[in-house]
Symmetry: C2
Subunit: 345 residues, 2 copies
Amino acid sequence: MTTIKKIAECTHVSAATVSNVLNGKGGASEAKAREIRETAERLHYTPNLLAKRLKNQHSNTIGIITEDLTVFNTPEIVDGVDAACEAMGLEIILGNMRLYKRYNNDFTDTQRHQQLLDKMIEHMLSHQVEGIVYIGYHCRKLVYLPSRITVPIVYAYCYPLNQKYPAVIYDDEKAAYDLTMLMIQKGHRQIGAICGPLDSFHTLERLKGYQRALYENGILFNPQLLQYGDWSRSSGFAAAELLVPAGVTAIFAFNDEMACGVYEYCARNSLQIAKDISVAGFDNRDISADCTPSLTTAKLPLEEIGQTCTRLLTSAIDGEPPKSEITRLPCILLERESIGPCTTV
Amino acid sequence: MTTIKKIAECTHVSAATVSNVLNGKGGASEAKAREIRETAERLHYTPNLLAKRLKNQHSNTIGIITEDLTVFNTPEIVDGVDAACEAMGLEIILGNMRLYKRYNNDFTDTQRHQQLLDKMIEHMLSHQVEGIVYIGYHCRKLVYLPSRITVPIVYAYCYPLNQKYPAVIYDDEKAAYDLTMLMIQKGHRQIGAICGPLDSFHTLERLKGYQRALYENGILFNPQLLQYGDWSRSSGFAAAELLVPAGVTAIFAFNDEMACGVYEYCARNSLQIAKDISVAGFDNRDISADCTPSLTTAKLPLEEIGQTCTRLLTSAIDGEPPKSEITRLPCILLERESIGPCTTV
DNA sequence: CTGAAAGCGCTAACAC
DNA sequence: GTGTTAGCGCTTTCAG
């Protein structure tokens, strides 16, 4: 391990001088400075960040806590935080709670969850992080909050009880509204919806947007045209089996997988998507761009959530008064081929 | 910030004693010890890991470098490394190169890539990591290796030129062999294959396995029955359009997405999967379990790759002589419903 | 059983 | 310009 001290010896100066030179603080003749830099290079000097930070008393690091890194939206958000941090010269440390595998997906906000969380935060604090981004594995209200935290925290893709801390999520309602509007503009009036489970935040919000679009266009909301799936492709298929005979000309599936189920139903029943029946999805999963015809859907602003969180966090770290509110970022509407004009008279 | 010193003051002992007690080293009367522990608790003492490590001169940390965290297999591998580390009391620090977004996916092993890599490694070394796991975004031979590295490194999901360092990948060939065997056992002889691009490691390996199975069963390999896709669903569809008329009774798609394309082709052409035509995929993507009939596929041992890497790395850190070879972990065959008996005479 | 002292690698005042 | 000193928070002899 090459240290500053060793370089000092080799170049016959003091450690302080080496430090100054290596940090561009001047304080040495150009000749000496070059010599120092060269020796550092030659000896493969790598500054010891631990020592540096201990001395400087600030870590320039923020912690990212993920509920589960393997859940599909999480990595993109982490990526967004990471990118923003890199741009701002911040470092990250990652703490993955692995809730899925740990609890077999049966852990919705329990005390046990909080214990884990507290341990995680403690750990981050040990690392002297200056702030924390907490990334949920799906959007919902968090009941168990850190029992003790001494640095700012912001929530991504979930939001804390009582809005005690700022949170960044995306705007489900608006995106669902937009998608439904798109269908209405193409002349559709009998628009079926395939929801997710009723206890899902996403379902509720998307439902609101769907209903608002109907309302604003004077279309009676027909509960018959509402089916509940479980986000799976097969549940989308099953819903289509009910919806199509009921006379819908368009189906808004609350996620892409269920939309694929509708596609399959149509293929089996010789219905042509966009012509005989229009379909919209949600999430912009890989498959949505790739199916035929390509699926109109809403892209989630995952990267942006990460970026925004980082921005909120850094301003909190810089002492800005915390505004503990929920920021809703718009989804991006991806209009592709699956919605055609309504041909029914 | 509560430090050991402050606790020492409050409890009228020396910092050394506090340190001893808090680290369970004994060296204090039970009364004193309890008092110290209680004050630590009361003052919310959080040990400063930076100081601890600076002093102890080992970080107990390994670095994880990901080529791109957002590529679908990466998070699972990270998760595996993470889990293994937790079990061994190691910490991780994550370095994400974000190759995809940075280079717009046009970066296949260039000098620029290496510069980034070197910077990344330097950074890890600054953090005093004791070893590094490098996770590729897809399996291939890496040409540009770290120019200087002072700690052990092991590669996951890719392998270094000249096998300079150990690597852990999964066994494409074997899995493809098994999948093909499954079809043969069900009586199929005319088995089409939909490959990925020919320059892909995965394509080559899976092709080998496919051909070996044919060979061992005395089935002539018919190049007509081979189509090349680009891993996308639509390319699977297109391949099916060629393969089915050519008289195959089964199709082995080299990934699940292309298999879905085959499904779509069958739906459109009133062919029943498993009955009229059998299909296999690869990767065990979410959709494979969820389509109808469910898709027989190969599950990648991603977690296990992470775990194995960690094990290899720690033994290298413990001074074990490095065996620089490629470890191939078996995939898990998921036999579901998409392969039926061959009914053609 | 307890404490004083030294030092991990680095930096910031302040002398010279 | 350059060096000396002190100290970040912690642990580890070693002496009492």
